[in-house]
Subunit: 270 residues, 4 copies
């Protein structure tokens, strides 16, 4: 009722500044919307999971066009509500390129992601949250899809353990894995790679016997920030589905007010 015949007449009568010709002869690689907050479903190994996404969607703009049509990005996004997965992301990219009449595009969707885990001794269940980013870039008929996970873990310092009579400083670390893929890879698989390489993984809920377990496990398994990224890089490099990867670890040192940091970068850049 808000959009009668009269409206469409009026729409057509309004000048369309964005479609004007542009005389600077400069292509724009990315133009669109950024930091759109929207509810989404994500595909997990145990079914679709609701989450809240922060979304960037852009296309390239040829030199002769003055502006893109911003409202179309929203239209595309809100009509593609399949649970987010490798394939759903490709489909969203295809729809965006068609609707925006562009050959090149970039989509980035960041979501909190949850995995139900059982505590290592008591078996009590709880959710762990991870920050996950799904990216897709179409560039000169080449498509690059990247899944990134930020995995919080425990790191325990080998040097501190070695030189001290007792104890060892440990801390929360953020391991970030970016994996360039050409087909489906489960987010949980990337999380598992990071957690296995850590001094110890984290859980939402731990009972006392679990706390004893994780304390001793971390002490038995000291890791420098360098060890973390190397062990993870080894694992990722052996997965044929992963075409390129980077792995970072930021250790929020418990003995300093800055971080220890390492990165191995084997990404293919476009």
């Amino acid at each position: 009722m808000n959009a009668p015949e009269q409206l469409f007449a009026s729409v057509n009568a309004l000048p369309d500044v964005q479609s004007h010709a542009d005389h600077r002869q400069l292509a724009i690689q990315r133009v669109g919307v950024k930091s759109l907050v929207h509810p989404v479903m994500i595909q997990t190994t145990t079914g679709p999971q609701p989450s809240v996404a922060t979304v960037d969607m852009t296309v390239s703009l040829p030199p002769e066009i003055k502006g893109t049509h911003m409202s179309r990005f929203l239209e595309v996004f809100q009509t593609h509500q399949d649970p987010l997965s490798y394939h759903a992301l490709q489909s969203l990219m295809n729809a965006m390129l068609v609707r925006l009449e562009s050959q090149q595009g970039y989509i980035k969707i960041a979501v909190p992601y949850f995995v139900r885990k059982s505590a290592p001794v008591s078996g009590v269940e709880s959710l762990m949250d991870y920050q996950v980013t799904l990216e897709c870039e179409e560039l000169q008929n080449q498509r690059l899809t990247t899944f990134t996970v930020v995995v919080p873990v425990t790191s325990l310092c080998p040097c501190s353990k070695k030189i001290s009579e007792y104890g060892a400083h440990n801390q929360r670390s953020h391991v970030t894995i970016a994996a360039q893929i050409e087909g489906p890879v489960e987010i949980e698989e990337l999380i598992t790679v990071a957690e296995r390489a850590a001094s110890c993984e984290l859980w939402g809920l731990l009972k006392r016997p679990d706390e004893k377990y994780v304390t001793e496990r971390a002490y038995d398994n000291p890791k420098f920030v360098e060890d973390l990224v190397r062990d993870i890089a080894l694992a990722l490099s052996q997965d044929r589905r992963i075409k390129g990867y980077s792995v970072e670890s930021e250790n929020f040192e418990s003995i300093h007010n800055h971080s220890a940091y390492a990165k191995i970068d084997h990404l293919h850049y476009s």
Copy 2:
């Protein structure tokens, strides 16, 4: 299977340091967990809506007890998965106080919250996101429940309009309403109060006739940061369900790199 008889024997054998007596004779008003990220459902006027919450849960600790039991907060939270509402929040508070054996407690749950809106002329639908915080505090048998909404709006400067031959600077502003309540109030009602007082409300998706409408509407309706908080305070003070309130507006000035800010505070402090 991870928690056999043997485990419980071992749990009981582990020392329980937190239950020891404490000799400093100092009560702690709030002790518990902070910044827990967890999926939730929220009750809206059109049914339950999935979101992702950031949760703080604390209880008070009497002088003679050394420590609280941190894992119980998680247990309470993850077993109370009713869609968040005024009543569900009370029920969560009751459960926490019982499980933590405390007389006083505080719960704070922050969530992105979505409202489906129709654009003002074209009628196209899209979601707008708002930051919502639900708080509940039990203090000496008095319970205080507070719903807070951050509502992004347009503000257009009356001074700029008045002194300029044409145009007027305008910008995105964040209106924050905190309402102390003793019974259910819909979050959408608070959002509507803020949006009505603004130079113009925001939408996710606007077509050109809508953009013309919102531009002219804002220009017809200039508001200082002071006007925003006063108009909203007037509306809130007339709602008998609201026992206390504060209203703030932060205008991210388009002509400065700092904000214009105003606050009217009629909250009851505990």
Copy 3:
């Protein structure tokens, strides 16, 4: 040179919307500027220190006045460039109240703050950074000055130490002390109170013998989040210059992805 006679004629000719009468009969407790970023000097025990402040400055507005004069806040701030101290803050408040013609006002200045420290064994020197906030509120002829420090420290879990054969989980924690004062108190004094109560304090630069020291010191000195706030509250309550205080600790648990948190609140609320 940019402001000749002609200008002032023109200034006076421009309508002054903010000075109009207002008919809603609602006082505003706080109106002014927020999130102004500005270089400052801070007074320390070893002399003035340059830093970068984020500044909020507001006054109250009586019911009959439509708006405040935003540009005056900047004028006041940039002409009061004495190194920030208890007394400089009082002087800034006085100047703001006079210039804005108000009886009530609030100033909040947040700065990174640095202390030169010697490592515990090697004696090598480095700077530690702390987040410091200076607040001053004038309310019905009563003035409340509050200094807040966020002190990053190491906390080592007593329960983890007790129940484990070896090791103990530890992590970076943020201890926040807010002290209400009526005369000068050195920021370093508040920092020292927090650092003494921790399992161990932090340094920017540690050599291996220092790392051995801090590892063993933390293990010898386990502290729950509850212990931290109680030990600090005891110390603060014995300082007669401190009229009211709160102390919080947020432990960024190395075994979870959420924080353990405690707060003791003995602030006087206005």
Copy 4:
């Protein structure tokens, strides 16, 4: 005094785990410290300016070495306190590579940066703050230096102006210029390029005649996000000192709760 002969004996006696051989045969591109907060001086056109930096410093680590020596980064940084400039950054890089015995390295220093500006009509002076990042990367004997500025400006929508009877939505935008350089370029020059391309630049302090000026100036000078990046790209591409550049604009739309965004990327990637 804290480091007598005895200490050095003890230092040498402590095992040096980081210097052990590593058997995974994986080089690490970047390892070092991240998010170090430290006071600095920055060179400006009007002399050295104090600020507070957030610093990342990393080197590459060959496959056969187990770990880097984290404390050396701090030592290097705190002994190189020349005002930050193109040349000081090169000198810091040289010192780091020598001290860390590495062929490759990366330094990133982010600082708030201030420029004293005169209001356009009244001439009143105030400071504007900008976020500036200085980066230097040494990679296979090729060095890449990048200066990045984030410049807050006003953007006014040409479409909104064209289709509306009166008014036009405008907002604060962040223009980000990254310039790859091989010799000194003044940060103020990059800021000026961004401000000239905007609908209007920002000031800390504006009097009423200034506010009239900036309102009318923005209305006379509407710019899409696409126009902003194109006009700036044109200017940057004509500066022979700039070997590569990217320019982004994020417009914090006053009519939406998301941003309009555009990027032109002519950076040389290593």
